[in-house]
Subunit: 349 residues, 4 copies
């Protein structure tokens, strides 16, 4: 059993890591940290994880002092805010650990991009080593990585939809519009007026209409897929559900294409990827079909009247969009089958 630690486990991504790792057959959780929950039992904070049956009754939140953790685990998930991650990760690596970081700190290839959208990068030299943790695009690099930057939830949903068509030159790289709708857990577990029940129940809004920080991450990967930098228009929305992202992505076709042709491209591209389910012509992804799973469901619709394609992708933002994908990356980094501990079908209804 590989020893695994979670640094910063008080949020929803931490909770989701714990839920999934509790049932993982090849690892054991040996440390769970949270500065604000220091000393509390994990199952007092998260009763869903309790019980003799696969539960985590013995886990106690600890203060996250990285030095103490070295030696306590061989593998680390850092589920802390950006900046905090880059302060912690180097010492974990120096201690011989492998790391999947769920913040934005190690997702970018170039420090300049990170610094434009976030702040000064403290360990830019690690950016060339870290691998962007989207297994369908970087599986081989992930397998040998010490450090993986786990993708953002929105980027996961948009990149999986568009990268294959861009690589094939089937869509125009300019003018791509990604309209994404997210469940509320994407806003995290902190207190927040916008995400109080009565402020969003039975209602709907866009937010961060200009300048959401997932924009450059999508642009980096779609630019690499196409072969040159590009800009996208990205708009996130908050919808009254807990888990799930549906992204509707619009692009102009470079040539006349049919649904069948584009589906063939997608099916070929993802032929070895068990976590991508390309739906049949005319079928509609539904976030409930992927709830609690690492799946990404994809559909394609050609609109002949406008010469555009509409790609639709559905993921669970906490599983595929964060913790499930992080575990998939861990599996690859540990030499395990990537689906280990992730074989679960969507909880529907």
């Amino acid at each position: 059993m590989v020893k695994v630690a979670i640094i910063g486990a008080s949020g929803y991504t931490g909770l989701e890591l714990l839920r999934l790792l509790a049932a993982h057959p090849e690892v054991e959780v040996t440390a769970v940290t949270s500065r604000k929950l220091d000393g509390q039992k994990v199952t007092d904070v998260f009763p869903a994880l309790a019980g003799r049956l696969g539960g985590l009754d013995d886990q106690i939140f600890e203060s996250p002092e990285a030095k103490n953790l070295t030696g306590r685990a061989d593998f680390f998930f850092t589920a802390v805010p950006h900046r905090t991650a880059m302060e912690i990760v180097p010492s974990l690596l120096e201690g011989g650990g492998k790391v999947v970081d769920l913040s934005a700190d190690f997702r970018f290839n170039e420090a300049a991009v990170y610094e434009e959208w976030y702040e000064r990068h403290q360990v830019p030299e690690l950016l060339s080593e870290s691998v962007y943790g989207l297994p369908e695009l970087y599986r081989d690099q992930i397998k040998t990585a010490r450090l993986v930057g786990n993708p953002g939830c929105y980027p996961t949903s948009v990149i999986l939809a568009m990268a294959p068509l861009l690589k094939k030159g089937l869509i125009e790289p300019d003018g791509i519009i990604a309209d994404s709708k997210s469940g509320v857990s994407g806003a995290g577990r902190g207190l927040n007026m916008t995400t109080q029940f009565c402020e969003i129940d039975d209602g709907l809004m866009a937010y961060k209409v200009i300048g959401h920080r997932h924009t450059p991450e999508i642009e980096q990967e779609l630019g690499l897929a196409f072969g040159r930098p590009l800009f996208i228009s990205f708009t996130p929305h908050l919808v009254p559900l807990s888990r799930g992202i549906l992204s509707t992505v619009y692009a102009a076709l470079t040539q006349d294409s049919s649904d069948e042709e584009l589906l063939a491209v997608l099916n070929e591209f993802y032929k070895d990827d068990v976590f991508v389910r390309v739906r049949k012509k005319g079928e509609l992804p539904h976030t409930l079909d992927v709830r609690g799973t690492n799946f990404c469901d994809l559909s394609v619709f050609v609109d002949r009247r406008t010469g555009r394609v509409k790609m639709i992708s559905a993921i669970d933002n906490l599983t595929r969009g964060a913790s499930g994908q992080a575990i998939c990356n861990m599996n690859l980094m540990l030499g395990l089958a990537e689906e280990t501990g992730l074989i679960e079908l969507g909880l529907r209804p």
Copy 2:
């Protein structure tokens, strides 16, 4: 008191008409029809409408035989499916009544467009007489009309967002993308597996991704606003809430513009329109702010990186998107102040 009849009142738009008309100070409901509910008390079907206090305890659903209704009312709302509307409306007009039709049958200027998206039109000669019932665009024509085609819910939300900018030539007419998210009441009150609670609660999907019938309606009005025909990409989504549409509409700017400049255009355009609330720079429309009301809340966001504008509009699909707008049209056709009976603020939370 003007006598008003509702033809086809068994659905959610019928229910919303009844709710609003019960409190309207200048009209009385004298007939309510539904073939399938014939003989039932309105308040047995809709207990929300019961009570001595403004309730409709005396109303009984009748079979909708138009001849019998002539003379029973001076004003008619037809809230029946398309095709049924064009079978009924001519005799209502002949009987001397005025009509607001909530179906698609009288929304189009050209029979050819209707026939491409729906079916053969039975009374194409009425299309030149009927007025598209968007008061902000056609107030004067509505005032003198005998017949108004009440706009669809999605078109209302998209047209109000884009028409001012198109009229001013500030955005490109080609490549407009309207991504709309609707509450479930938009699907009507019929039995439907897709709208069973467990099939959409806590989930999210797109539907009719290609070819939704509100597309040509939006294109007609935006084309008229710009001055020549145009095509749009329109995608509707089903979100787990009862009332509300949020439309996010993307267009390329024809020239460099700021939020302030575009807001000034909107404020000028809607300066006499009490039911449009142009939000201040940076503010975000929320469907809860318009719930149960005839308001349309609008925001504008310029994305300088991509040279595009994102317009966001929020309406209540049953009120502004159907029955509230229908009553507003009735008010204009009867010479009343357009806000009569519609002065209500959003039910939030």
Copy 3:
């Protein structure tokens, strides 16, 4: 127009007071206070209230210094926490104002009861003057009162269900069980982990299972209805909806009774009360039927197998359970018809 001030308008009951008063034909809001929102525009905090059409665009939150408010208004709603209310109310009365207090401070007849469940009462002499603001039970006293203690949401729903049967001696006073389910707005507008969307969406829990402070309020009024003190078992639950309380109340019958007999008692008891709708035999109250209104819908079900009756009541906790009832009380205190400004039917769906 009567001048009205709202002291403490930053919460959901304040928002609901503002929504309803904006449309009230006989009053105008002249002052709105909130210590934490001091200086902010009301419509910046609550955009639902904006607009030239009945909106409150000119209102600014002020600091709540009671002395300054004297003279600014003739009528006051105090929507502040308990204790704060009893600090403010005396000076408002001394200034010649009439007051409806929405806290618990003036609901109890005996200071000892208040002090057992809350804290020391600072102005116990006002308790004999203040009237419990349930119009169906105390209409005449309310009409002449200077000070009304507006009932709690749960007590309103339980007392209206049980008082008539207790007064008639039809049910046993001991062993009454009130199982109440409330929408989340009952928890107020503050930041709270329990009421974050993801903590209650698609889930359900009981809370304050023992010792909820609405218990003595229910016991006071049901004891008065029966003629001697009694105890009840009361359990509140949090359900994933914004507005609405459904109370299911169980009591043993003192004699064999039928649904018809008990319905006759209720109909007789409430024959002059436009805001109580006694449903017909077998019909089921639904919180959606009363949403946004001052109605209380009641049903009765005799269970012959167990010799018990089950009473079911539905209210909107923010309207009938707080602000609508407060306005109803104001209407009575001002000599207006009690339904003034409250003629609205349930927003369904």
Copy 4:
């Protein structure tokens, strides 16, 4: 691998059986029937079950002709309506199969009770053989049974809460009140106006207030626990969530007891039961903590003012209340550890 067939898999309990069995390590699904879906691919109806990764892509719904199924499987789940079950089960048993029936047909010990609440029983002789499938009460009998009547969802939640206290004589057997709140999936997957999204979203109602058919089932088991027949008052409610039942059960204490004493009784009673989690003093069960799992979370609250106890239980109605419990029973009948294939923690949020 044991061959397992599901008779009647078109509903939510069928879907939940499929979801869980797909991941079960000791069985394979060899037949799935549905008369109305005959010939359709399972994953076309339920896309959540699709994929190469543990999915059911090869399954086709068949017509449920029991004779053909004999030999196709060694174990059968009958997830059909009552009456249909008793028509099918005898031939399955004759063919040598073991059966867990999810209908009400084999839950009762006495045909007379079944016939009072349902209809004439066609194979009353099987009632003495069939075992009531609540493992905590009947584990040993289940292990050797050919036929298990799987408990109803509400009875599971109420019986687990009350049986220990009744067995110990700590509560009065008369006057027990069970107030249960269920998610909408309990109403099944059929088309139904009451469970259309807009009819229950953001609302709440009681239903079948008198005479719900789960009443005699609860009475049978609680009567057996106490030692003589008893009556209960049971009221089900529909709340706007998909999965989950919270039951609040009230009973008079026979003697003064503390929370600690009653918790000790529960902990002793369930000391070998991994699927019951007795919460610590003061903790509150939440349906989200058991979502998607076979757990039942229990809490106890003594109300000294009234001499009553309030027991609160939370289950997932589709898992513990139906399909998860059915699989637990199958495990026992097959000699497997009862938790096989059921080790999953609650999906929260």
